[in-house]
Each structure stands twice: as structure tokens, then as C-alpha cells.
Symmetry: C2
Subunit: 148 residues, 2 copies
Amino acid sequence: MATTRDTRLAVAVHILTLLAQQSEEDPLTSEYIAGSVNTNPVFIRRVLGLLSRAGLVASQPGVGGGWRLQRDAASISLLDVYEAVGAGPLLALHHRQPNPDCLIGRNIQRTLLHYFGEAEVAFKQMLARQTIAQVLERAREGELSPPA
Amino acid sequence: MATTRDTRLAVAVHILTLLAQQSEEDPLTSEYIAGSVNTNPVFIRRVLGLLSRAGLVASQPGVGGGWRLQRDAASISLLDVYEAVGAGPLLALHHRQPNPDCLIGRNIQRTLLHYFGEAEVAFKQMLARQTIAQVLERAREGELSPPA
DNA sequence: TCTATCCGTAACCAGTATAGTTTCAGATCA
DNA sequence: TGATCTGAAACTATACTGGTTACGGATAGA
């Protein structure tokens, strides 16, 4: 199956939140994590590979091995995670170069880059204020409120 | 060809900017617009259909027909356009339901919805401040600066 | 040293979305 | 009546996401 949209950020945050509630001495395997996310271990390892390259997690192979956080959950912002999974720009420009013989055509892309860029900055600034520790806390709080 | 990312917002803003510099009596055809965007008229008409349903443009069939703005360019924000083209949420959640037997699994999606939602609001608030009139003005300004 | 476990990665596949293309019915105007 | 333009359907090529299988290499423990 595929349902097509990129879910790597959601999965990455899920993974990091799992690791954040785990003790240092008890790493989680990609198999276990896949069970919580409800997907397959290979996809989890692919995402963990991105997080590892960004220095957010580290792995240990072999019996009793698995993954653990490399940084305090309160120091990992969602922007860190967003950048770690390497998502492209939020808004795409034209696939093909617009017509350079047209006033709008030859200026639109630079202009869009400016305005789209401002919106993306606002988006990232908000992500920068949110941390894995907050996500974990809020997920725990969800348990307290009576189920609807 | 396809290059896959959704370019409808970029194309929609391009279209509206073209129409914004056009006089009321001289509508533009989808064929002409396609020439500026450098794509085919059918795709342009598909996007124009969305803008039309949102009340931003109107069409007239027949000889001398075409498209014109229905609202002042200064009153059309990029958020209006964004919503008109009906883009989905910026950040996807998991494709499959996470494991409900896991604390994180059963709370992560609601939690992500909250934090992702805040980032999306910030993004949209910025788009709401930008107008087609500004885009047109900035595209014209680009002409004045010496080419690099 | 041997074996079980776990990572790391490649390869391949299925499902889906974008947008290019062709085609044609219907509206409008001269 | 005929030229022009919209509106929409149908089909296609391309590319992306993530599911799946497979296997090499590292590690720990018996």
C-alpha cells in the first residue's frame, strides 16, 4: 500500500517520542518500534538512519541492541526533526520555466520564491518552538482526559 | 512529463497576476495564459475552474472571450488562492492507525494534529498578508534591477 | 568459536498523484 | 452559420511513497 503522502515526519516524531519515554539502558529495536507505528521495520530503519545522521539517535547492533536518543528530548525541536528527515520546500514552483518573453513569466518564480519563502519561515519558526519532550507530555496528558 | 509535486498554487498565482495586469475589457484565453506559464491550456483551465468556483475569476466563452478577475487584485490574498486550489494539509499523519495498545501509539496522532496544526496556522497567517497586487508589483520591480 | 540477534542497505513492487495530451460537446458572437 | 472559446472526460507517462524480501556485517553471550 502507499496512500502517497510523505509520512516520514510523523513517523520520526513518533519514534523519537517512544525513545524519549525509554530508559537509557533499554534501547528499542526497529521491530518493536514498527509494532507501535504499525508499519514494517525496514521503513523504521530508513527513518532512523536519517535521524542518526542528524545526531538525534544512535544504534547498537546485536543481542540486546537497538536505538536510543542521543540528545535530551527537551532539546530536540520539531524543526530539528523536520530538517533531519530532509523534506523539500512546502510549495513547489512551476515544473517548466515560464515564458521569458512575458513580463510575468520571467519574474514570477523569483517573486514566488520570496513570498512562499516567508510563509515557510513562519512555519519553521513555529516548529522550532515545539519539542519532543512537549509531544511526550501532551500524549501522556491525553490519557487523563475521559475518552470521547 | 510530470515531475510530481503539486504546482497548482504557483500556477494559480501566476494566472491571477497575469489577469491583474490586464484591463477589464480584454480577457485572456487559456491558450494565451498557457503560453506564459509554459504548459498546456487544459491544465490552465483546470486551475481556472478552481479559481472560478472560489469566485476569484470568471470566464466568457466564444469569440473574444476568456478570463478576467472578479475581485480587486489587492483584495485577493495568497491564502485565498491557497484555499481555492484546495491543497491538503502540509504535513501528513501515519497512513495506517498506530498501535492502540501502546501509550504513544494511541495518542500520537491527536498530538501531532495539534502541533502540526499550529505550524500550519502560522504558515497560513503569513499567506493571508500577501496579495496578488503585491506579487504583481514585485514582479514589475524585478524588471528595474539590472540582470545578474 | 559459534550462534542468535539486530542493524544497514539494496532491490523490487504496488498504489497513487501530477500534469500532459487528445477529444468533443456546448456556449457565444460576428 | 461558422469561428472561437470554455468545460470536462479519458487516457498516458512519470515519479514518489512505503511495503516486502533478502542478505551482509556487527555485537554479545554461551
